[in-house]
Assembly symmetry: C2
Homo-oligomer: 245 residues x 2
């Protein structure tokens, strides 16, 4: 058996998230179905860097699996893409050591969140950005973003539904990319809690709108209470951009 | 009754074309439904610059209608957008003279056709570009494009299904926009026959691939026979970009 690491992109619009669920269309489900087809209907389980929620996109999700089939790395890309649906594409395949694990070997991730700033909604971007046409104070937002960088207990920025108990994470960088029509949050860290990016972005929008002040952020962190932070923004603006190994 | 001219953009992915058809989701059908709602369930017919086919997009389609409701132009934009589905957006509304007609008053249109040149398909662009990763000789294509400019009988570049009998049209300009990952055909003319842009683009790709030579184009035009030209490329790469008045 050889272990293969794949980089995969997917349009999350028509998936009920990454992780397999009975009777639901999921990214993992589609990929495992293709791998089973390639392995004489034997189940081949894939292991990703982590889950993504319904409607969340990936530009560079990573997963691994073990296979007894041997073929060149480029062949794996072609064979998988030939069978996968149009909203999933394998960008890269690579043989890795048998102790490589997509989830446990990664030492960080980058997410991006796209906000559409145009006055009218854009039919072409409705599934790919969050439309927020209201005024935002970018300077205040950048001050608040600076405060979130570093190592903190992110309990206030984590869905109460989580089962994880250690809520201490490090945000290595948190920046804004400003384009003509969009504002893109770029966030890198060593790990992210459930809904953490979407709650952080929602909180930054409340700072931008003047409902919260940058000075409130330290107390929100210290309060360790989800209800102190802002709303969770929709999944369709979020991209798992890159996983670092 | 006042006449209102609207500029509308739509993502054609989930429409079976522009024109109303029974039991099918169409752009005209959705807009007329919203207008009926605004007019106490009275039917309000809209007149567009022309039809677009299933999966074809519009960045600047134009239609007009007559209404007894009076409100400011910006209010029309807001009211319509509040009721329209997410894949249609009104970009502009304007009161016009009662002899304005979206179809008969226009003196030309611009279409664009997007070709994705990346090696792997892109899940995010699957409905918005035509993926063509094979080699293309752009110089030969540009020579062929030059020959198509001007006034010609475009019978060979028109679906045999058309009912129109006059096939003489003028292409005012036909150019290529080259970006990092795409090749975009930009074509302006005084009028377009059924499937004309898609057949022209399909023929240009055959020139780029070396299956046809630029020198063959005059004979294809003169032959007035659809079977002489190239294949019709898919609708999802096509955009009605602008209508000129």
């Amino acid at each position: 058996m050889k272990r293969i690491k794949c980089i995969v992109a997917y349009d999350g619009t028509h998936f009920q998230g990454y992780q397999v669920q009975p009777n639901k269309r999921t990214v993992q489900g589609e990929i495992e179905q293709v791998l089973a087809k390639m392995h004489k209907n034997q189940q081949v389980k894939i292991y990703a860097s982590g889950r993504t929620d319904a409607n969340v996109h990936a530009k560079g999700q990573v997963f691994h699996f073990d296979s007894s089939i041997f073929m060149g790395e480029d062949r794996w890309v072609m064979a998988l893409n030939a069978l996968l649906p149009e909203d999933i594409v394998i960008l890269h395949a690579q043989y890795v050591a048998n102790d490589f694990h997509a989830r446990f070997s990664n030492h960080g991730k980058e997410y991006r969140y796209r906000i559409l700033r145009k006055k009218e909604r854009d039919p072409f971007l409705r599934n790919y950005t969050y439309h927020y046409p209201f005024p935002l104070n970018l300077e205040k937002m950048k001050q608040a973003m600076k405060i979130l960088e570093g190592t903190h207990d992110f309990t206030s920025f984590c869905s109460a539904k989580t089962s994880v108990t250690d809520h201490i994470r490090t945000i290595e960088s948190f920046t804004l990319i400003e384009t003509a029509e969009e504002l893109v949050f770029q966030i890198r860290g060593n790990g992210f809690l459930y809904n953490m990016v979407r709650i952080i972005v929602g909180t930054m929008l409340e700072v931008g709108a003047g409902k919260l002040q940058p000075e409130n952020i330290p107390a929100i962190l210290e309060g360790r209470d989800r209800s102190l932070a802002g709303k969770t923004v929709p999944g369709h603006g979020l991209y798992l951009w890159k996983v670092f190994y």
